[in-house]
Symmetry: C2
Subunit: 281 residues, 2 copies
């Protein structure tokens, strides 16, 4: 029988732990440092994401601060705004919303956000620490997938994981996390000629390609575990990378929506807790 | 017929290009900035490596500077010595020799050497840039292996590469480099239960485990290409990870010694050239 790896209980467990930690911080500090979200311009998707983060932060009692920069902000002004947050002791975590206006390179935040406040785990230093196996602040989406495996007690050590997608936000960091837990890991992508030969042999298939219907039932087996990170809107519905037929063909899978996505925000909160802890020490 | 992928012509091509570039820099600058090698204490292996680097640097006309710190150096003194080199405009590249004395964390150089002078490509920022696909200064050993593939016109895009060994100096950066060239990449290691099933299916097998005899002829096929990064002293001889029987069983392989190791130092020189170019711009 197929097990549905629902994200909600995983997120709940992480958030419960975070609330406990935060209660401890309040007792210790009196006042908590804030999570700062930097928004540039008026991109609706960015503003919606900011609201979602604000809700999550408030639900666990973390003060939330939104900094709005004009769409015409210069690089120097942008850098100065980030540097001010880097220096501000009342700010524990910083998230810079994408997309940025064209005059600000997309990679700029990864170079200038203080690694100790990098809640998204996307700075170059934190990517390096993840590869070195010593990261504290890790990218939330892949870390959420790993937490799902832990929560449902799916073994990782010695297992074979095939990751489809090599992005810097999911595929590559997920590979580093699973390698650190002694999995053997293959990174496949759009230029892999024979994807099915890889996925069929995997104990765990992680999908992070953003291509609905990419994984079909003939590409998996009855013992496969599928982690679906795909998030594509199809006819108004959020759709993963696994074809619906996959659900019945495997041992376990994460639904979309309701799987990995829900855990992502919880990891963000766990990262804030880690950043606050770091700022106290 | 098996092709022996000798490192010497690859290194020669890289060094010839470096000499041309350096001649150009001398014309432009008059005086070249130096390569600084930081040595701590009196470890014979470190001193031997320093001499090898000095020879290579001098052979292409790059001024060489050795900084010797006492074995009892404190972290503050160590940091100050590196910071001085970071700031010194007459220094283009910095290499910190391992092993470091116990009071200096092994990872310290990766945190404090200026990324723009990080000839070894081992700072956290440069590891992050490599994962992002935008690194200029890259770890020399895996980059040397990639150059061998380029030099002998062995296709990478769309091919399947199995890497044995997940170290931060070879296995992981090699995976990032080959992914960037559109290979499908598996990282295997000591906890991979069925190594042979991976290596037999690979177009290219990269060995970076430091275990002589790890790869045997039954684990490869007549079209396999083997890159051997293993360097272990066995009865006074430098020995790779491939068993001698592998040589006749595959399409092409790098000998040990005489293969990947020779190219490593040439990449170091190419990195110095890149650092000097960066310091001019």
């Amino acid at each position: 029988m197929t097990v549905m790896l629902e994200g909600r209980p995983v997120a709940r467990a992480i958030l419960d732990q975070a609330r406990d930690d935060i209660t401890g911080f309040v007792t210790q500090l009196g006042l908590l440092p804030s999570l700062a979200v930097v928004n540039t311009g008026n991109e609706p998707s960015a503003l919606a994401y900011a609201r979602a983060i604000a809700r999550t932060a408030k639900s666990v009692g973390i003060p939330f601060l939104r900094i709005d920069l004009p769409a015409a902000v210069t690089i120097d002004e942008f850098d100065a705004a980030i540097e001010q947050l880097n220096q501000d002791e009342t700010v524990a975590g910083i998230i810079v919303l994408q997309p940025l206006p064209p005059q600000i390179p997309k990679s700029r935040p990864s170079e200038i956000v203080a690694p100790a406040k990098d809640i998204d785990g996307m700075t170059l230093v934190n990517i390096g620490l993840l590869a070195a196996g010593t990261a504290t602040l890790v990218p939330s989406t892949p870390a959420g997938g790993v937490e799902i495996l832990h929560h449902y007690q799916i073994p990782i050590a010695g297992k074979y994981v095939v990751i489809v997608g090599r992005s810097l936000v999911v595929g590559k960091p997920l590979a580093m996390m699973l390698l650190a837990e002694d999995a053997t890991v293959t990174l496949c992508h759009s230029r892999t000629p024979n994807l099915k030969e890889f996925t069929r042999n995997a104990d765990i298939v992680a999908l992070a390609a953003g291509k609905p219907g990419l994984l079909t039932e003939d590409m998996v087996g009855p013992t496969s575990v599928v982690l679906d990170f795909g998030v594509t809107m199809v006819d108004g519905s959020m759709t993963g990378d696994a074809d619906p037929t996959v659900a019945k063909a495997v041992a376990a899978f994460t639904p979309v929506p309701g799987g990995t996505g829900i855990v992502t925000n919880a990891i963000l909160v766990r990262n804030i807790v880690a950043a606050i802890r770091g700022s106290i020490c």
